[in-house]
């Protein structure tokens, strides 16, 4: 019986010894790594990153501040990632009304024509029967059913155009 106990305790001791040995090895690795970093000044990179973070925060604050004079570079504003944004948005997508491919920056004018404000759209619309209904209903103030018809204000603008 005591033999087994002895065995166990010596096993325990041995295990602990091995364990400590392993931990010491890892500690030595860490120490060596840190020593190298310190002597080579590699931890200066950390300081650089922190400095850059600080600068970007400052830049963001400057842009957000309305009292700043932003005349320089208003044409091509450069954001914190260094990307520049052209004054006219260039992304292309499909108009949900007519399905055509439209440049985002020209979408508003397109929509005006597409949905019935412009002369061309109104000329198109007169060909269909619903269009004449539209014209009649536009006289009344509260009719909002037709998609193609714009609010009364549009018609006046069109006549002027």
């Amino acid at each position: 019986m005591s033999n087994a106990e002895d065995n166990k305790s010596s096993h325990d001791q041995l295990s602990s010894q091995v364990f400590l040995d392993l931990v010491d090895s890892v500690i030595a690795d860490v120490a060596s790594e840190c020593h190298r970093v310190a002597r080579l000044g590699l931890d200066r990179d950390l300081e650089v990153v922190e400095e850059e973070l600080r600068l970007s925060v400052e830049a963001r604050a400057k842009v957000a501040d309305p009292s700043n004079n932003l005349e320089t570079n208003t044409k091509y504003v450069v954001d914190i990632f260094g990307q520049s944004h052209p004054p006219v948005a260039t992304e292309v997508f499909n108009c949900m009304n007519c399905g055509r491919q439209i440049v985002a920056g020209r979408f508003a004018p397109h929509l005006e024509r597409c949905m019935g404000k412009g002369r061309k759209a109104r000329a198109k619309a007169t060909r269909s029967t619903t269009a004449s209904q539209n014209r009649n209903s536009r006289r009344s103030t509260s009719d909002n059913n037709q998609l193609a018809s714009g609010p009364p204000g549009f018609e006046e603008n069109v006549r002027r155009a």
């Binding site: 065995n7 096993h11 325990d12 041995l14 295990s15 602990s16 091995v18 364990f19 400590l20 392993l22 931990v23 010491d24 090895s25 890892v26 500690i27 030595a28 690795d29 860490v30 120490a31 060596s32 790594e33 840190c34 020593h35 310190a38 002597r39 000044g41 931890d43």
Partner: protein, 83 residues
């Protein structure tokens, strides 16, 4: 020693390293080193000194779960090797 010859020591080393990194222990040790370097100055610090400084803390701060897992594994190996 059988531990080394069988390759088990390598396995254990890898296991210990993984566990200690996962638990953040290594990061704590690195912070401790950096603080000592700041105190002593870059040029003057030596590896031995760093080891000396962080070993007591390192040994004490191994998470209990990690220690248990390792000890179990070592004991199992010893027992199987003794047979």
């Amino acid at each position: 020693m059988v531990l080394v010859e069988s390759g088990e020591k390598e396995n254990l080393m890898e296991l210990v390293r993984d566990r200690l990194v996962e638990s953040g222990w290594k990061d704590e040790m690195r912070i401790a080193c950096r603080e000592h370097v700041k105190k002593k100055g870059r040029k003057d610090v030596t590896v031995d000194e760093l080891i000396r400084v962080i070993t007591p803390k390192g040994r004490a701060s191994v998470p209990d779960a990690v220690k248990e897992e390792l000890l179990n594994r070592i004991q199992k190996f010893i027992q199987s090797a003794a047979l």
